[in-house]
């Protein structure tokens, strides 16, 4: 899933070490091995790993910019 777009963590499987991340309706699994997250966090994913948390305000703005570009 696109790295340049933040996703929102919807749930976490602690035992298996992954999170389900939502990208405007599409859900992807990503490992939580690098970064500890909780549901509601906005994150950047690379190579199926969550690599960085991103502040909510910034995330929402980035998602908006992305969606506007998609329409172009």
């Amino acid at each position: 899933m696109c790295l340049a777009i933040p996703g929102k963590v919807v749930s976490i499987d602690k035992e298996k070490g992954f999170a389900t991340v939502n990208y405007s309706g599409e859900q992807r699994k990503a490992s939580t091995q690098l970064v500890e997250v909780k549901p509601g966090d906005y994150v950047i994913v690379q190579a199926q790993f969550i690599i960085q948390k991103i502040p909510k305000k910034e995330a929402l703005e980035a998602i908006k910019v992305w969606q506007e570009n998609e329409k172009k």
Binding site: M1, Q46, Q52, I54, A62
Partner: protein, 168 residues
């Protein structure tokens, strides 16, 4: 330096470039610019020390080469000269381009731009393939894939979620 032949490092310019560009190859797949098969092919060449094709790198990482050519001109060297590529990634040139928000960087948010930058960091912890690194007062976990022999106390450069090379 003219006439002086220094071959201390066995590093080829192609490998050195691809090490730093490797994290971006995932971004390009996500942006639909290259296929994941192509990314894996580059990864295989990089990790197995196989020959890497210059033309292919130039076609895939167009924006980087545009900037490398500008730097090469300033340095009066060929843009495939290892010194030019080092100046780009390791000197502050690469980060300057990001701070100026050129090209696609303008569409990236601050957190993503920080990931795009090359940071010099210290390894503070190691477990299997993961290094905890510290730079600018923050601690992050990154992959040791490209520097499998990195140990606690080493200085490394970091690009996206990867440690790229050990540095002095």
């Amino acid at each position: 330096m003219a006439g002086e032949r220094k071959e201390i490092s066995s590093e080829t310019p192609e490998r050195y470039f691809l090490k730093y560009a490797y994290p971006c190859s995932f971004v390009l797949v996500d942006l639909g610019k290259i296929t994941d098969e192509k990314r894996k092919e580059l990864e295989k060449q990089l990790l197995n020390n196989e020959p890497i094709d210059r033309t292919e790198l130039e076609n895939i990482f167009k924006a980087a080469f545009k900037r490398l050519k500008e730097i090469a001109k300033e340095m009066k060297k060929d843009y495939w000269d290892l010194e030019v590529i080092k100046e780009y990634f390791f000197g502050e040139k690469h980060n300057d381009f990001i701070d100026k928000q050129e090209g696609m960087y303008s569409e990236f948010s601050p957190t993503i731009r920080e990931l795009c930058k090359v940071h010099k960091a210290e390894v503070t912890e190691k477990r299997e393939n993961i290094l905890t690194v510290k730079y600018a007062g923050i601690a992050r976990n990154v992959f040791a894939t490209l520097v499998p022999d990195a140990k606690v106390g080493d200085k490394v450069t970091v690009h996206w979620a990867f440690a790229i090379e050990k540095v002095a």
